[in-house]
């Protein structure tokens, strides 16, 4: 209409609903600026590994194809990936509280692209977390065949998708700016319940049975399987699939309510 603005015929919508590398790069930079996220996902899991897994006894005691230190290493990689992806997904809670989600609705960014970006970010910091634990493990006595090592790390990372969905669900469910203060301890409890910190067979039969229904169990069992060749793989896979579906459905349900809330 005026000489100064762009004619409507030359205005274009962004590709992929606004999902772009540029946005991911900016979001990643902001994520790394948040010290709590960095501590939770990059510093705490390797520290836990050193604390609980690197003692001399563990380095000599064997489990499957490796030593106990390797076993603890995988568990801590799973724990790190879990914390990282959950906090990645839970970013939406902070953004909703700040009114940022509303601001984004004044841009061409499609809601589905926004969710895809959050999941991508969650998986990126999940990968960083798994990598951090594994690098520390190389120098502090973990021992298993290279192929096993890689398989375990990849499984720990991929299965953390459950928790990216969980974080997203919680992010939409809890409108709190301190959502990770609730989710952090929650994840620790789930990790105990799912046999990530302490092997389930040391905790009694009833507890071990209940544990199989908790969301951390499947991820832990699967990630350790290349090392231990032990446990019920199909139960673990079923556990991961069902929990991912439940959390994803929950996130979708809240997400729809959020975008339709007008």
């Amino acid at each position: 209409m005026t000489a100064t603005t762009i004619p409507v015929t030359e205005r274009r919508l962004p590709a992929f609903g606004g999902f772009s590398l540029g946005m991911i790069a900016l979001e990643l930079r902001r994520l790394l600026r948040n010290k709590r996220t960095v501590v939770f996902s990059v510093i705490m899991p390797p520290a836990f590994f050193l604390l609980f897994g690197s003692s001399g006894d563990y380095q000599t005691e064997r489990v499957g194809d490796g030593n106990v230190t390797a076993y603890v290493l995988i568990s801590m990689a799973v724990y790190g990936a879990m914390l990282a992806t959950t906090s990645g997904g839970a970013m939406v809670s902070i953004e909703r509280a700040a009114g940022w989600s509303r601001q984004l609705r004044l841009t061409p960014l499609k809601p589905a692209a926004y969710v895809a970006i959050k999941l991508t970010l969650a998986m990126i910091i999940g990968a960083v977390s798994v990598l951090a634990v594994n690098v520390v493990g190389i120098f502090f006595g973990a021992d298993m065949p290279v192929g096993t090592w890689i398989a375990c790390a990849v499984l720990a990372w991929v299965c953390a998708l459950v928790f990216a969905a969980f974080g997203l669900f919680m992010g939409y469910l809890l409108p709190s700016e301190n959502v990770m203060q609730i989710l952090g301890p929650g994840l620790a409890i789930l990790s105990f319940a799912g046999g990530l910190f302490v092997p389930l067979d040391t905790l009694g039969h009833t507890f071990a049975t209940v544990a199989k229904f908790t969301p951390v169990y499947g991820v832990g069992e699967l990630a350790r399987y290349p090392l231990t060749h032990d446990g019920d793989v199909w139960v673990a896979i079923l556990n991961v699939v069902v929990w991912t579906a439940l959390f994803a459905l929950g996130a979708m349900w809240r997400f729809r309510r959020d975008t339709a809330r007008v």
Partner: protein
């Protein structure tokens, strides 16, 4: 009482109004926030949506931006649905509060908007400059003052180079200096021919910056005209008299009366020729105890926007 701007709502030669609200109603449960608004705004107009808090301004703005759907009626922006207009960058907005992440820097926030609208880096620099925040580009948003954050929102709104810029109570919480600076930036920008709609409850802002003032009260438009037309509503005076048992219908029939009110035994008659009204009251009715006062802009605003059920 309602003034109407000229009916030619489109700019000469172009067939399309910038904004077209047709019978728009918005209800939240039992509360009716917007109660039947018809409004056309021409491209290039600077329009103030003026009204007290709770008049339905923000609800109207939300519908213009596609953030909420009208319960009844239709909203069009440049002939499109608000969502489409927003996605294409035809319309953008500076919202009242929120909408910023405090752990981004000023520049990153604008750059993110640029990425989403597919604009180059140079557009970021331009927007920062035009909003007057190029000097604080590397500051974290959380460390910016309210006025600086508002100018950041303005920079983000400028990025898509919108045809229509909507400002919702843009200067709330700013001090006098910040307010003036903000409006200077907006005014400079509007000279390029951008359509601007701003919601405000500050009379002086509407008076100083708008070509057209739309007065909203309880979800309805009560006056619509140029700033001077609306101001002329304030040109009249008020005759107050004690007249027990007066009927509103009789009073509005009195020659020269533009509007009338009955509060208990008192009647308030507004009009330009208050002498004639006073003469009529004294000669033809039992009215006594007359007072004549002149109205100012504030009174006109209050009269036009006052809530009938809770007289001031």
């Amino acid at each position: 009482m309602t003034l109407t701007a000229s009916t030619d709502v489109t700019a000469a030669g172009t067939g399309q109004p910038a904004v077209h609200l047709d019978g728009v109603v918005k209800r939240f449960g039992t509360v009716t926030a917007v109660d039947g608004i018809d409004l056309r705004i021409r491209p290039g107009e600077v329009v103030a949506l003026l009204g007290p808090n709770g008049a339905g301004k923000t609800t109207t703005v939300d519908m213009l931006l596609g953030l909420s759907q009208p319960t009844e009626g239709t909203v069009q922006v440049y002939g499109r649905s608000p969502q489409d207009a927003v996605a294409l960058g035809l319309v953008s907005a500076v919202m009242q509060s929120g909408g910023l992440l405090k752990d981004y820097t000023v520049e990153e926030t604008v750059r993110l908007t640029a990425v989403l609208f597919g604009k180059p880096r140079s557009a970021v620099t331009t927007a920062l400059k035009r909003a007057g925040i190029a000097d604080i580009a590397d500051r974290l948003v959380g460390k910016c003052s309210g006025g600086q954050q508002q100018r950041l929102r303005f920079a983000m709104a400028l990025l898509p180079d919108p045809e229509l810029l909507i400002l919702d109570e843009p200067t709330t919480g700013m001090d006098v200096g910040g307010r003036r600076e903000f409006w200077d930036a907006i005014r400079e920008d509007a000279q390029g021919g951008r359509t601007v709609i701003f919601a405000t409850h500050y009379l002086e802002e509407a008076d100083a910056y708008a070509d057209r003032v739309v007065l909203v009260r309880r979800g309805r438009i009560v006056a619509d005209g140029t700033a001077s037309e609306v101001k002329s509503l304030a040109a009249g005076r008020t005759v107050r008299a004690t007249l027990p048992g007066a009927e509103l219908a009789d009073l509005t029939g009195v020659p020269g009366v533009e509007s009338a009110e009955v509060r208990g035994d008192s009647v308030y008659l507004h009009g330009r020729d208050t002498d004639a009204i006073a003469r009529y009251l004294l000669n033809q009715t039992a009215a006594r105890d007359l007072e004549i006062t002149s109205r100012n802009l504030e009174d006109a605003f209050l009269t036009l926007t006052a809530d009938e059920e809770t007289p001031a």
